[in-house]
Amino acid sequence: MRRGDATVYRRPARLLDLHGRPTASRLSCAMVRAGLPVDAGSAWGGAAVRWLAGWWRIVHLGALLAVLALSPTSYRADLHAKLARHLWLGTGPTVVWFTVASALAGLVLIRIVVVTAVSYGLTQYALEMVVRVLVLELIPLAAALFVALRYTLPQAAVLAQRRLRDVQLPALPDAATLRRDLLPRLLAGVFGVPTLAAASGVVALVIAYLMVYGFTPWGLPAYTRTVGHVFTPAVVLIFAFKTLFFSLTVSLIPIASAVYDAPGAGTLVVAELRALVRMFVLLLVIEAISLMGNYY
């Protein structure tokens, strides 16, 4: 795929469905412009098709970026600087603050859980509950949201503004643009979420140990056994997949919204809002699926 070969990725002038026919939304718009009545059913159908088309474009862009991410040519020496820049910008400035913030929040939460459990005589379950709630559920979600708010959404805004400045950009960037502009941002987001989650998770585990056992090494065997109880292979697998999909969600959706939502008057805010809504919905769905996998 050569640089400038945009015909492969160029969006067609008219929105067509998978069989090359005009989509319902386009039909509806044409009917409105022609002054023809559009019934509610066709309006709902058009909205559904637009909704599906929007998600399809996100999946399509994600597939393209995944192919590029797995391609060795995406890691040529001339791209190293850009990759390193986004990798550092996406994670470096945030990892310390996020770890500190999550440690403080975890400290409060662990203290509440441990004191409550002790008052009810359920001390043996407090540690397991802390590890499950904090490390497995809250920290990955918080890390994903933190990366989204601090890195991927601002980067998506930068991309959208760039597209707003240059209306001649193709609807779908060419491969070189994907490699140069989108892939580093995607990789930075995908790298940032697990890194933040891992660092905060380790800190939370250490804080939980210290809160329950204090500064003594004699609780380590029991603590290790409890952690081993919690992290069964299935739980670890679900945790890993959840973190991966969180990172993909917060990385891909803002970029896709910046790329696909048509630049124009007043659409920047709409695109950002749409990206936020899509991102939160997808995060919610992933969290719900992981909860079902862990506890059902």
Binding site: R85, G92, G228
Partner: protein, 333 residues
């Protein structure tokens, strides 16, 4: 419809300054993340017991409710094993495979007992007890039967007993129950006790019988008064009898004098008999010389007769003074 021209695109943002040593920082970040993830993975593998040498123990039970893969088997409260697999065998029993770390296997002996305890609150516990730690060690791959200590099985019995108790209490406390009737009767009896007739009205149940008892009591009181007078007269009689018997001129004094005289008479008769005994001894000695002794025999006979008469007189005197003696026959020796 007038078309509003689109707002002018914002000016290009100035490029952010590139941090120093960017590639080094990014590489350090990557390495740090890799180290973090590898270390976490190794710790989790260690926590799951992936690096421990274990031996297998098979436990057989007929109900594995609450037993889950990964649960601990404890000895004295310390986890020494982990359930690896739970499956149902052909005879309908449950086989629980437990991995025992070799470093902890010495706590299990041939005589160890394994208990599956299920409490009212909390999860099921698998416990091992080794009474004699000097017994031979439990071999690897051993199969043991699990004893079950299930607190929840006692709950239905407890509930049934409690229900029966509550039913009994309800029957006891019902309005028509014997206890309630008894209490009503007690109340009625108490009211009668507090009534004008008191306990007699409670005992006899009607006023006529109670009045009759009152009359009887009054007559008994009068009879007792008369009896008291009789007793006073009896006391007078007894006092007079005492005066006649034990007084200064009473019978007892005469009896005492008679007894003294009787003692003297007996002493005298004893002397006489001793003399008779001597005479008889002499008579026996002189029996061979009858002819010589016949001259003294008259005097002796006269003396014997005198003694016999005195004895006879004494006996008569005794019989006169001692009215209880009826046998007056005297045997001559």
């Amino acid at each position: 419809m007038p078309v509003t021209p689109p707002p002018a695109p914002p000016a290009a943002e100035p490029a952010a300054p590139t941090p120093a040593h960017l590639e080094f920082k990014a590489a350090a970040l990557l390495v740090a993340m890799l180290v973090l993830i590898v270390a976490s993975t190794l710790y989790l593998l260690y926590a799951r017991g992936a690096f421990e040498r274990t031996q297998e123990l098979t436990l057989i039970t007929d109900d594995a409710e609450g037993v889950a893969v990964g649960m601990d088997m404890t000895f004295s409260g310390f986890p020494i094993g982990r359930v690896r697999r739970v499956d149902l065998v052909e005879d309908g029993k449950v086989r629980i495979l437990v991995d025992i770390p070799v470093k902890d296997a010495h706590w299990l002996r041939e005589t160890s007992v394994f208990v599956l305890a299920r409490g009212l609150v909390g999860d099921t516990r698998l416990r091992a007890y080794s009474g004699v730690l000097t017994d031979p060690a439990l071999p690897a791959g051993a199969t043991r039967t699990v004893l079950r200590g299930d607190a929840t099985t006692e709950v239905p019995k407890l509930v049934a007993a409690a229900r029966e108790l509550v039913d009994n209490l309800a029957r006891l406390s019902a309005a028509e129950s014997p206890l309630a009737q008894s209490l009503a009767h007690v109340q009625a009896a108490t009211e009668k006790l507090n009534g004008p007739r008191g306990a007699l009205g409670l005992v006899f149940g009607n006023d006529t019988d109670a009045q009759r008892v009152n009359d009887t009591l009054q007559r008994t009181q009068a009879a007792l008064a008369r009896l008291d007078g009789v007793l006073r007269r009896v006391d007078g009689v007894v006092a007079r009898a005492d005066e006649q018997v034990l007084g200064p001129q009473g019978l007892m004094r005469d009896v005492q004098a008679g007894v003294v005289q009787l003692r003297e008479l007996l002493q005298a008769s004893q002397d006489s008999l001793r003399k008779v005994d001597a005479v008889l001894e002499e008579a026996r000695g002189i029996a061979g010389n009858v002819s010589g002794a016949t001259t003294d025999l008259g005097a002796l006979r006269a003396e014997v007769e005198t003694s016999l008469r005195r004895i006879d007189h004494l006996i008569q005197e005794v019989n006169r003074r001692w009215p209880f003696k009826r046998d007056t026959q005297i045997q001559v020796p």
